[in-house]
């Protein structure tokens, strides 16, 4: 099976501060990979390197079996259109309303009729469970959950193969957070997406991921299913996942040490 993302020997340093020390990671098609780790462990940095927003000090990031920085302007642009990113704060364009935000990537493509863009935007809105009348609102008029949904609709606007989510449930109440997780799961099934998300919310990890990569001590400590990761004996994994293991006294078959 081909890999969507491949990180090879990634080293990242800010001055003398080492963030990543030799990181290797493979994300396969159809994965729902959770990238977890403590605050300041470089999760978001890693996500930004995958998205091509930052260049690692050393090492190679490969997206869709190609090194991310190579190719002509056009090929790099085409590659960028194959993934969508949801930023932590939504990063909706504040000068555009919701409709224009979601339509923006479609209009950038050119060659689509305004009528088709309208229909596509409306279908994306329905996909993220927003109402058609929300399309005319400005980002500043939206609640936190709606910002996330609108931003997700924009990230999905070109129907990408890969979705990068930075803290998808941060700032949402448990109810909304669970609904958002369900939404991403159903999109994953419908669109055959590969999803990589950064989070430190254990509920999101257990509800959304089918694989977990644990980032600590500048390395990937483990990258496997949650059950397997929980079996690993490591102080960070122990303390990080303790709430999860303590709460579910193994009814779901998780192995508890």
């Amino acid at each position: 099976m081909s890999s969507v993302i491949e990180l090879r020997d990634i080293h990242t340093r800010f001055g003398h501060v080492v963030v990543h020390d030799d990181i290797n990671l493979n994300v396969r098609r159809g994965d729902l990979l959770a990238l977890v780790g403590g605050s300041g462990s470089g999760k978001t940095t890693l996500l930004r390197e995958i998205a091509g927003l930052m260049k690692p000090t050393q090492g190679e990031v490969r997206l869709f079996d190609e090194p991310i920085q190579t190719g002509t302007r056009v090929t790099r642009r085409v590659r960028k259109r194959r993934f969508g990113m949801l930023f932590q704060g939504g990063a909706l364009f504040s000068a555009f309303n919701v409709f224009d935000n979601i339509a923006f990537p479609l209009r950038e493509l050119g060659r689509l009729h305004e009528d088709e863009i309208y229909a596509l935007v409306m279908s994306r809105l329905a996909l993220v469970e927003l109402k058609p009348h929300h399309a005319k609102l400005m980002p500043s008029e939206l609640s936190g959950g709606m910002v996330k949904r609108a931003a997700l609709a924009r990230a999905l606007s070109l129907e990408p193969e890969l979705l990068l989510l930075d803290e998808p449930t941060a700032g949402l109440d448990p109810d909304r957070s669970a609904a958002f997780v369900r939404l991403i799961r159903s999109l994953h099934d419908q669109l055959g997406l590969t999803v990589v998300f950064v989070t430190h919310d254990l509920d999101t990890v257990s509800a959304l991921s089918n694989r977990v990569a644990v980032l600590a001590e500048h390395r990937i400590l483990a990258c496997d299913t949650l059950e397997e990761v929980l079996c690993i004996d490591h102080p960070f994994i122990d303390s990080f996942f303790r709430p999860l293991t303590a709460r579910d006294e193994a009814p779901s078959g998780w192995v508890i040490k």
């Binding site: 159809g30 000068a95 689509l112 088709e116 229909a119 809105l125 980002p139």
Partner: protein, 380 residues
Amino acid sequence: MATYSTAARLSRSAPPTIERREGHVALHGDWILSALRRRILFVRFQLRAAHGAHLVWDMSGVNRLDAFGALLLWRTWGLREPETLAMPAHLHGAFDRIRESAVMSVEVDKHDWLAPVVQIGSAVLGAADHAVGMIEMLGHVAIESIMLFRYPREIPWREISASIYKTGVQAMPIAALLGFLIGIVLSFLSALQLQTFGVDNFIVNILGLGIIRELGPMLVSVLVAGRSGSAITAQLGVMRVTEEIDALATMGVSRHQRLILPKVVALSIAMPLLVLWTSAAGLIGGMVAAEFQLNLDYRFFLETLPQVVQVANVWIGLGKGVLFGMTIALVACHFGLRVKPNTESLSSNTTASVVTAITAVIMLDAVLALVTRTIGVVVR
């Protein structure tokens, strides 16, 4: 897992094609946005040709289908499934996603004949609103300064001093340069005219009066409005966007006292000093140019200056500095506090702040010129 099989299909790619044979239309390849986009004109043309006839649609060769591909086909079919259609199960999802939105189309705004009237009306009301807001703010600042007389402990010295440094001290090099160059230009220009009349000595009158009374304050106002006015508006605007001003309010700190008053006070202190500084630089520039053009001795220039320019003119120049400084600060704060939480509003308010400040200063200057027309000049 089911999603892995979907995913495996996604990894292959083939261009979208339409094959038409005797009432039979076979679709192949990837019917997705990125693939369709490259040959959209051709695909549209072929689909249009296939429209209407009672055709057998065979989609078994389609590898991938996204909402856009589904939309194209659905609209070709006239928003319903054709009678004879062979479609693999994995393609249904895309049609389900667009079925409802495919009927929607862009709402065209009807032309409103009253729009120009509404526009003028809202412009007038907007201007009135700004005027009221400005007066309100002036009132708040006045009340705050009275309060500070009663509680001198609360005077925000640090903010005032920081603002003086930023708006005054840091502007000195550029102000001096501007003043010096304008002085040279003005001096050369007038010298040429004066020479033809043989009244070279009057260069001192022209430069003295012109720079000290008018040009100095005006020049500094434009500079400060562009330099500090825009900075104040942008700073307050971002503070509003990031809710810092609300945070101040919850701590019981008055924004008029802590944010606006220091800027008004600082600008009304720094501006007259900048005016003095710039006028001096302008006069030096003029003096140098006069020496070059008219062979006017520096000593003669400096001795004549106090005789032909009354001290009242200096006071008028400094007074203008105070007034213009206050105006610029108030206008900048007013627009800064009106910024709405989006980038568009930030940029338009910053522009409006600078334009309004400069316009207001010029208007005030015209009024002052009328009011002070008998002061400081010899009326024969």
